[in-house]
């Protein structure tokens, strides 16, 4: 991939470790002689970094060999860069304070210019909620590209739900190479092939704790809205929701029953004014979009069982059997069938919930 002179400057400036976001932006303006204020930025950098460091950085920025090495390294690892200020940069993300200078991308970059919607949640997401998350993510792809992280639980459920349509963006907390050995490496690989994986860090950068929070601002910033499917009272998903609210985007949350610790954060969000989301229609209607509900053919027994599950929110198989008046092993059959049709999910033990 070839970059314009300015884009290459930004990419090379971004490769300096130890320079903060503010310094990098200042550096780019300081070396730009067309910029009327470049002297001011130069002075700022000399003051905060010191003369020696500034000159070293400046030299490296224009060192042909170094530039070549950086750009070639990116090309070799199959990463293409989208630079702030370029045409391909997602416009919504450019609006936030401190937008990433460079998005390091693997996969289908054209997804960045479409409408995005973020689905996030806790690692400890109950099976039924994860199934609902997977389903809603799949349904959202009809109008949006689904954005999420790559953590266990809700994030991966959302990614899996959206992956078949190819409209999915995963935002990594660290560089691309930092996830090579993670448990979800296989999933990330398939997103690279079918969707898009992005990061604001150069590929080699390892993950540090603060980078998760920084990543969450990208999750919120990319999208028109954010859905939190599950969150404990101190979950990282709440930070994402907080950013989304700060940026003036829509925030949605699944309601949870009382006393479920993985749902306390969601209920808190709803109390604070987030929109309550029961299904995909709740989200789409907010944006004036429509969704055609697909009907699945059901047998009479399946109708009955599903109605019972819907009425009770979830039930043990024995309760289902006695309520519908069938043997337990017949109920197993019906519930398995509903599970395969994607209308019920095993919520642990031998209990099932409607999705």
């Amino acid at each position: 991939m070839t970059y314009s002179r300015r884009a290459a400057d930004v990419i090379v400036a971004d490769s300096f470790e130890g320079l903060g976001h503010r310094h990098k932006r200042a550096l780019l303006r300081a070396v730009d002689c067309d910029d009327a204020e470049h002297i001011k930025y130069e002075q700022f950098l000399i003051k905060s970094l010191g003369d020696g460091v500034y000159n070293k950085v400046k030299r490296a920025l224009f060192d042909g060999a170094y530039r070549e090495k950086v750009l070639l390294g990116l090309e070799k690892s199959g990463i293409s860069c989208v630079v702030l200020g370029d045409g391909g940069y997602p416009p919504l993300l450019a609006e936030i304070p401190a937008p990433p200078l460079v998005l390091y991308c693997r996969g289908n970059i054209s997804l960045l210019s479409g409408d995005c919607f973020t689905v996030v949640g806790s690692r400890r997401t109950p099976a039924a909620t994860a199934a609902a998350c997977k389903r809603i993510a799949g349904e959202l792809t009809e109008h949006f590209t689904v954005v999420s992280g790559v953590a266990d639980g809700a994030d991966t459920a959302a990614v899996r739900g959206a992956l078949p349509s190819g409209k999915v963006i995963c935002v990594l907390p660290g560089g691309h190479q930092s996830v090579a050995s993670s448990a979800n490496a296989a999933l990330i690989k398939s997103v690279e092939e079918g969707g898009l994986v992005i990061s604001e860090s150069p590929p080699q950068r390892a993950v540090l704790r603060y980078m998760y929070v920084a990543r969450n601002r990208i999750l919120a910033g990319l999208s028109k809205g954010t859905l939190v499917v599950s969150a404990g009272s101190r979950s990282g998903a709440l930070i994402t929701a907080g950013y989304a609210a700060d940026y003036g985007r829509e925030v949605f949350a699944f309601p949870h029953s009382l006393g479920v610790s993985s749902g306390e954060g969601c209920n808190q969000l709803i109390k604070n004014g987030a929109s309550l989301c029961r299904n995909v229609l709740d989200i789409l209607s907010e944006f004036g979009l429509e969704y055609r509900v697909k009907r699945v053919a059901l047998t009479p027994a399946e109708e009955k069982v599903l109605a019972y599950l819907r009425a009770n929110g979830g039930a043990h198989i024995q309760a289902v059997a006695s309520a519908v008046g069938i043997k337990v092993y017949e109920a197993v059959t019906v519930l398995s069938s509903l599970e395969i049709k994607g209308l019920a999910v095993r919520s642990g033990g031998n209990s099932y919930s409607a999705v």
Partner: protein, 523 residues
Amino acid sequence: MPLPRDPRGTANTGDKMLAKVTSFALLGIDGVPVEVEADINRGMTNFDIVGLPDAAVKESKERVRSAVRNSRFHFPVNHVTVNLAPADIKKEGSQFDLPIAVAVMMAGGELAAARTQGVVLLGELALDGSLRPVSGVLPSLISAMKRGYTKFVVPLGNANEAAYIEGAEVYALKDLSQTAAFLTGCEGFVPVAHKSFASALQSASYATDLSLVKGQTVAKRAVEIAVAGGHNLLLSGPPGSGKTMIARCIPTIMPDLTFEEALEVTQIHSVAGDLGDEGIVSLRPFRTPHHTATTASLCGGGNTRIRPGEISKAHKGVLFLDELPEYSRATLESLRQPLEDKVITVTRAGGAVTFPADFMLCASMNPCPCGNYGSAYKECTCTPAQIRRYRARISGPLLDRIDIQVEVDGVRYEELASTESGESSAVVKKRVERARAIQRERFGRPSTNANMGERDIKKYCSLSPECESILRGAFERLSLSARARSRTIKVARTIADLALSAEIRPEHILEATSYRNFDIKEP
């Protein structure tokens, strides 16, 4: 009973002879005939045993000498040599005490009139001359019968064990004097009365019953299917949910042991030396090795005398591994080959021994480290990564051999307190036997669905297009792993057999897919 004493034996006249009696040594669960020869030569008073005796056999010198003297016989004062032939097999155990004593007494002239031709002698001697029971009598008897021996002398304590062999003339004797009297032809000895296996079967009963398990209808159904098709079973559930209780009920719904099976099982337990008073194992064994068990204790081992391990003791019964992830990886992996071959070959420096090991594996585990994952009443505090690590302790190849995985629910108080009882084991057993009969007919031999290979699956488990599409849908929707496919089909075959259905129908496939919670990759 008067003891006939040979006049030549009363004095140390030097009129000695070579004596020979027959006994049996054990190699695994096979008996090997051992000729015990005794000879008396001039020279210093000495007592030698040659022919690869182990420590217990060497020590028998002291027991034999005292037992002979204390039974008021004369022990030769010359150079006594005892040879155990064939000389190249290691002789182990204390069952040679009696044959050695008899051979020495014969050689010394004390029992010159004894007729030992065709008699097999087994028994350990106490210092006072009485006979103590030994392990391995039944396998020795069975091997001896195969070789044409029909007359046996065993300790009184082994009488029950010997009573079940048809056609064997077994004399269970109290002590050395009685043996001497018997061998010299005294009248009045009656062989052990033959007992029928049916009566033993009738009198035996299990301590548990399926009707005592409250609730747990899903798990009970899974157990029924597992037993009907000979499938291995994994129960997962929170602590205290009754996994062990359910597992203990498995033998109660298995078909009764046949006599041949019972003999095989008894042989193993006899060699291991843990045969009870009944003399025959008439109930299906239920073995529960602790999770600290070593590979040798599970598979069998031992330095000189190779003994059967827990998996052989569970032959024709159930091997229950409680808290499966707590077992060491190496121990679990060692189960893979016997699960496939139904036998275990233990190889040691002393030789290789093959023990039967045709058992049903039933394992239990918690669903996650804290035990509450999926519980309706308690919240799980584990992260997905922790759960993944916990489950990864059980290797894929081992899970491959466990066809049915089912969750056992935490039990609520109302269920425990309810007086309504479910089906009894006897009722379930009837259905299991019916399904087993169908399988016997299908395979033309007593095999089960679980043993089907890929070719058998093709032959006996043809799926209608509808079933095929359900199976495909299930695999896509539930992200089942590919290796779960043939397992699901095998289980569906068993469910169809239980329902007396010739072909596998959609509902059978659907039910089978629900016994696979471990194969689901991710939500």
